[in-house]
């Protein structure tokens, strides 16, 4: 059975800290891994990763995929209170259209 596991489940940090969120997966015929940020409502897309070792970056956020060890990390540097959200990791198998989501990491950034 396909599985996506995120850790930690929740995290509290101070503004300015750097955080690393983890996502490991067991998926038959991996195609891509996606990161989403969810605040009060709809998840919004952050990154899609398909190749090992290539870092994707957007401002203070970056992510990398290791297809050999079957995991990805999402880094957020110089955190701000606006980074407080649930971060979702999802894996797309080659076999279909649907994403397998992890349970999410709830991040709280305190002033």
């Amino acid at each position: 059975e396909d599985k996506v596991v995120q850790s930690p489940l929740s995290l509290v940090v101070h503004e300015g800290d750097t955080v690393t969120l983890n996502c490991s997966y067991e998926v038959t015929n991996f195609r891509s891994l996606l990161w989403y940020k969810q605040e009060k409502k709809a998840p919004t897309f952050l990154f899609m990763l398909t190749s090992s070792g290539i870092e994707k970056k957007s401002g203070r956020l970056s992510s990398i995929l290791d297809k050999k060890e079957l995991f990805s990390i999402l880094n957020i540097t110089a955190t701000q209170t606006g980074d407080s959200a649930i971060y979702l990791c999802a894996v797309e198998p080659n076999s279909g259209y649907a994403l397998n989501f992890g349970k999410g990491t709830s991040l709280l950034v305190t002033p």
């Binding site: 195609r31 891509s32 996606l34 989403y36 409502k41 709809a42 998840p43 919004t44 897309f45 899609m48 979702l88 999802a90 797309e92 279909g96 259209y97 649907a98 994403l99 989501f101 992890g102 349970k103 999410g104």
Partner: protein, 112 residues
């Protein structure tokens, strides 16, 4: 910008009622999805559709059905609502199987 809209943000229904949740996307996407999101369980796929009149069961289809008569619209139907269907329901769409999914704002359904 892709826009995915859902018919209601909040909905309260009684046990046994038939419930319709509507989702509309304006970007001509082929694929549409219905998820439910519960604390501690994450997002779980109920049904998805990759074309008009086509549907596929997700991980938790029991108690739900779907309808896709037009490309832009995907409806989730609870034939006889039960209290364990109280949840946040999220609709999403994507242009193909190798692309990000765009989510609607969600419908928080409470079944009393």
């Amino acid at each position: 910008d892709v826009k995915v809209t859902q018919s209601s943000r909040y909905l309260v229904k009684r046990t046994g009622e038939k419930v319709f949740l509507e989702c509309v996307q304006d970007m001509d996407h082929e694929n549409m999805f219905w998820y439910r999101q519960d604390p501690g369980l994450g997002l779980r796929l109920i049904y998805f559709s990759y074309d008009v009149k086509m549907k596929e069961k997700g991980d938790i289809p029991e108690g739900y059905s779907v309808s896709r008569e037009k490309k832009e619209r995907f409806s989730l139907i609870l034939e006889s609502a039960s209290t364990n269907q109280t949840s946040m329901y999220l609709c999403a769409s994507s242009p193909s199987s190798y692309n990000e999914q765009f989510f609607g704002p969600g419908t928080r359904l409470t079944v009393l």
